[in-house]
């Protein structure tokens, strides 16, 4: 450990612990937009629709705030910012539970293209995503729900003018509405991390069947996609695909961790506010130590998870060598914190917190689905140990 500890200390000098004033202003702008566009009445309206988002809001967040391209380099039509700004956007989305194809398009698909694509592919694919003109997603895990890319079974068979995909992808975020699909598949006869590739194809291509899955969390739609000989183009090269997939997943984990701490903060805020309002036995329930101490513990947990999510984003932004390990750390930390915060928020609300009309369950369900999406906490803890060389 002594060499890596030394590395930690050096990187700690570079990794920032505070947001800059510009970043705080950016956050404030995103929050204003969300307060305006994504009250829970809108979340509830959109979650009952099949598409699950409001195209006009998506257009506004693209045109006015240029969010989908925030982390895409300027030469590909993006804002040229990095993981920290992406984290800020995700945190605010997590706070408000915005229903929009951001995580799929900006984090997973754009991430995969940036990590795997050739210069030409990046130049051709990214600008449309950056300006919100097209929606895209990454189809990676399969019905078994395993997040280890080595377990991918979908096969890409080479033919005259590219590849043909056969297999089934599941848990594809916004897979039902994406225009562009990026699919992880393997050359026939390979296994593990050998022979993996990323492939792009239009969602309306022949040989594709998409089905919306019934998710516990209706605010983020997921789909199953079957490929039956669908024609696809290789993104980048087969040699580098495994590493690109891994990098994309790690960035996605950091983005999701930031989203989760945003949601956890909402749960804390809601619980604190209710405990100051609700009177039982002639006093605000917030004056009972049982509630007080639960809220103090929630605050501690949320702050700790925030620190992990923020630090992981900052470390990724400066390419600190430890960042992939920290992606696991942040995802594991945020998952448990979010779920506890949501469960405690229901508990503090009492019976009313368990009703459909109370908003808490919307976050609870997001917490629950985020807990397992990209891999559950125990998976990330084990991966963390491996990456730390324990």
């Amino acid at each position: 450990m002594s060499r890596s500890q030394q590395a930690n200390q050096e990187s700690a000098r570079r990794v920032r612990f505070a947001f800059t004033d510009e970043q705080e202003q950016f956050r404030a702008a995103v929050r204003r937009f969300l307060n305006d566009k994504s009250p829970t009445t809108e979340v509830r309206r959109l979650m009952e629709t099949d598409t699950g988002y409001d195209p006009s809001v998506w257009r506004q967040m693209s045109d006015e705030l240029a969010l989908p391209g925030i982390h895409i380099p300027e030469q590909y039509g993006g804002g040229g910012f990095g993981m920290v700004e992406l984290g800020i956007v995700m945190e605010e989305f997590g706070r408000s539970l915005l229903c929009a194809p951001f995580f799929s398009t900006a984090v997973m698909a754009a991430g995969a293209i940036l990590n795997a694509g050739t210069e030409a592919q990046k130049s051709s694919l990214l600008p449309e995503l950056a300006r919100g003109a097209r929606m895209a997603t990454l189809a990676l895990t399969e019905p078994d729900g395993d997040w280890d890319p080595g377990k991918i079974e979908t096969v890409a068979a080479r033919d005259a003018d590219g590849f043909r995909l056969n297999g089934t992808k599941s848990y594809v975020v916004d897979g039902h509405i994406a225009d562009l699909l990026i699919v992880a598949a393997r050359v026939a006869g390979t296994s593990g991390r050998e022979g993996l590739g990323l492939f792009t194809l239009k969602a309306d291509a022949a040989g594709i069947e998409r089905r919306l899955l019934k998710s516990m969390d209706p605010t983020r739609k997921i789909a199953q996609i079957q490929f039956r000989g669908a024609r696809a183009d290789l993104l980048g090269s087969l040699d580098t695909a495994a590493a690109a997939i891994e990098r994309t997943l790690d960035q996605a984990a950091i983005a999701l961790a930031n989203e989760m701490v945003g949601g956890a903060q909402t749960m804390l805020d809601s619980a604190v506010a209710y405990s100051k309002l609700r009177v039982q036995f002639g006093r605000e329930i917030g004056s009972f130590q049982a509630i007080k101490h639960k809220l103090a513990d929630m605050l501690l947990e949320v702050e700790l998870a925030k620190s992990a999510a923020y630090y992981a984003a900052q470390a990724a932004a400066v390419e600190d060598p430890e960042w992939p390990a920290l992606a696991c750390l942040a995802k594991a930390a945020a998952s448990e914190t979010y779920l506890n915060a949501a469960a405690n928020c229901i508990q503090i609300h009492g019976g009313i917190g368990f009703t459909w009309d109370n908003d808490t369950h919307l976050w609870f369900k997001r917490a629950k689905s985020s807990e397992v999406f990209l891999g559950q906490p125990s998976y990330h803890r084990e991966l963390l140990m491996q990456r730390w060389g324990v």
Binding site: T141, G145, D146, W147, Y171, L213, K214, S215, M216, D217, I222, L277, R278, V279, Q280, F281, G282, R283, F288, A290, I291, A343, I346, Q347, G350, G351, I352, G353, F354, T355, W356, D357, N358, T360, H361, F364, K365, K368, S369, E371, V372, F373, G375, Q376, S378
Partner: protein, 414 residues
């Protein structure tokens, strides 16, 4: 309680059943016979459809019924809580009007205690009853009312004196639910089910003679109901009934139970289904994961220990020794078990834990467990309230300081 008298009673009931039990009777006809003979509620007094037997012996009677598959009096839902409360506190007139039809199952009942503003703090009820001539006029709102939409009558806790201290201004009534001033609305939960109702009262009428106990002494009456509710929650299972269960009476009983159990369809899910854990671990292969194995072990240790604790409490009670603290702990333990189930089911299920309905594992049962578990630590008294009860009543710790004394009118409330 001596063995001799229990044996005698067993012989007597066996003989009576032999002479009278016939599964082709109608349910109501049979239960009227039970009411008349007293065998349906043997521990009740002889003048009120019982035989005045001690509780231990009543259990033997139940066993004799079970042995030949004989149907008992109607016990589902709030019926028996209402009946036990009326038996103890109501006038003979009320008992005469209501008890028999409770036992026969002809009338269905609901409990109107909880309110939006008084959840943990039941005595903070603000639904009011004002005496106008021969009627109490009821206005207000109740909530968490199970099966109100099927009920004929309700037991109602309402405020009748706003200048008395909180617990001393409440009265207890029998109210006819099927009247224009009563509006029953389903209350949808976060798991999609609607097990409960809200009940709105707008100048609903209660005849003067439907007051149970004395005016402003309703809290004491409600305590009886709650004590019976807690005892029911102890989970003293009825002896399982054997036999083929074919005949008219069984069909009628099944229909009755179906309605009564409707609000509870999701309860097995919310309890976390600890019974499924090992099965699921094996079917998914998660039993090969050393971490999952540890978590399963933790959960099963908890669940088995909780079960043994309940049985220990019962065994001690049956031995006639003073009950230890074990009895009060069941609800809190159930809450831990349910949370543990939620955690372990998630670990076992992995990514598929986010799938629900027909897409989800076990046809959505796993997802339903996961979104139902938060109710376990709230419904029927939050974990926090349970801890207060345990600390004050079992451990004898000093009471919470009170801030709700003096005239209720001046007590702070939402």
């Amino acid at each position: 309680m001596s063995n001799v008298s229990e044996a005698e009673i067993r012989a007597e009931v066996r003989e009576w059943l032999k002479a009278n039990w016939n599964p082709e009777r109608s349910l109501v006809e049979w239960r009227n016979m039970l009411a008349d003979s007293g065998w349906g509620m043997p521990q009740w007094p002889r003048e009120w459809y019982g035989r005045g037997l001690p509780v231990g012996v009543a259990r033997a009677v139940e066993e004799e019924f079970a042995a030949i598959g004989a149907v008992g009096v109607a016990k589902s839902g709030v019926r028996l809580l209402a009946a036990a409360t009326l038996l103890e506190h109501a006038s003979d007139d009320i008992k005469k009007r209501f008890l028999r039809r409770i036992l026969t199952g002809e009338d269905s009942w609901c409990q109107l205690f909880s309110e939006p503003g008084s959840g943990s703090d039941l005595a903070g009820a603000t639904t009011r009853a004002d005496l106008k001539g021969d009627f109490w006029i009821v206005n207000g709102q109740k909530v968490w009312t199970t099966s109100a939409h099927h009920a004929d009558y309700g037991i109602l806790l309402a405020r009748t004196d706003w200048d008395a201290p909180k617990h001393e201004g409440l009265s207890f009534f029998v109210i006819d639910i099927r009247q224009p001033g009563v509006d029953v609305q389903p209350l949808r939960q976060m798991n999609g089910h609607a097990s409960f109702n809200q009940v709105f009262f707008t100048d609903a009428k209660v005849p003067k003679e439907n007051l149970v106990g004395k005016v402003n002494e309703g809290w004491k009456v409600a305590m009886t109901t709650l004590a019976h509710e807690r005892r029911g929650a102890d989970g003293l299972a009825s002896p399982s009934r054997r036999g083929p269960r074919v005949g008219r009476i069984y069909a009628e009983e099944r229909a009755e139970l179906e309605i009564a159990n409707q609000p509870y369809t999701w309860y097995p899910q919310r309890a976390g289904r600890v019974d499924l854990i090992i099965e699921r671990a094996k079917e998914t292969g998660a039993n090969r994961d050393p971490n999952v194995r540890q978590e399963i072990a933790r959960l099963m240790i908890l669940a088995r220990s909780a079960e043994w604790t309940a049985r220990r409490a019962r065994a001690t009670q049956q031995q006639g020794r003073p009950q230890g603290p074990e009895g009060s702990l069941g609800k809190l333990a159930a809450s831990h078990v349910a949370r543990g189930c939620s955690r372990v089911h998630t670990m076992i299920t992995g990514t598929a834990a986010m799938l629900t309905g027909s897409d989800g594992p076990r046809d959505g049962i796993i997802a339903e467990i996961l979104v139902s578990v938060p109710a376990v630590s709230i419904a029927g008294g939050t974990d926090e309230i349970q801890r207060n009860i345990i600390a004050e009543r079992v451990l004898g710790l000093p009471k919470e300081p009170r801030f709700d004394t003096g005239p209720f009118r001046n007590v702070r409330r939402n």
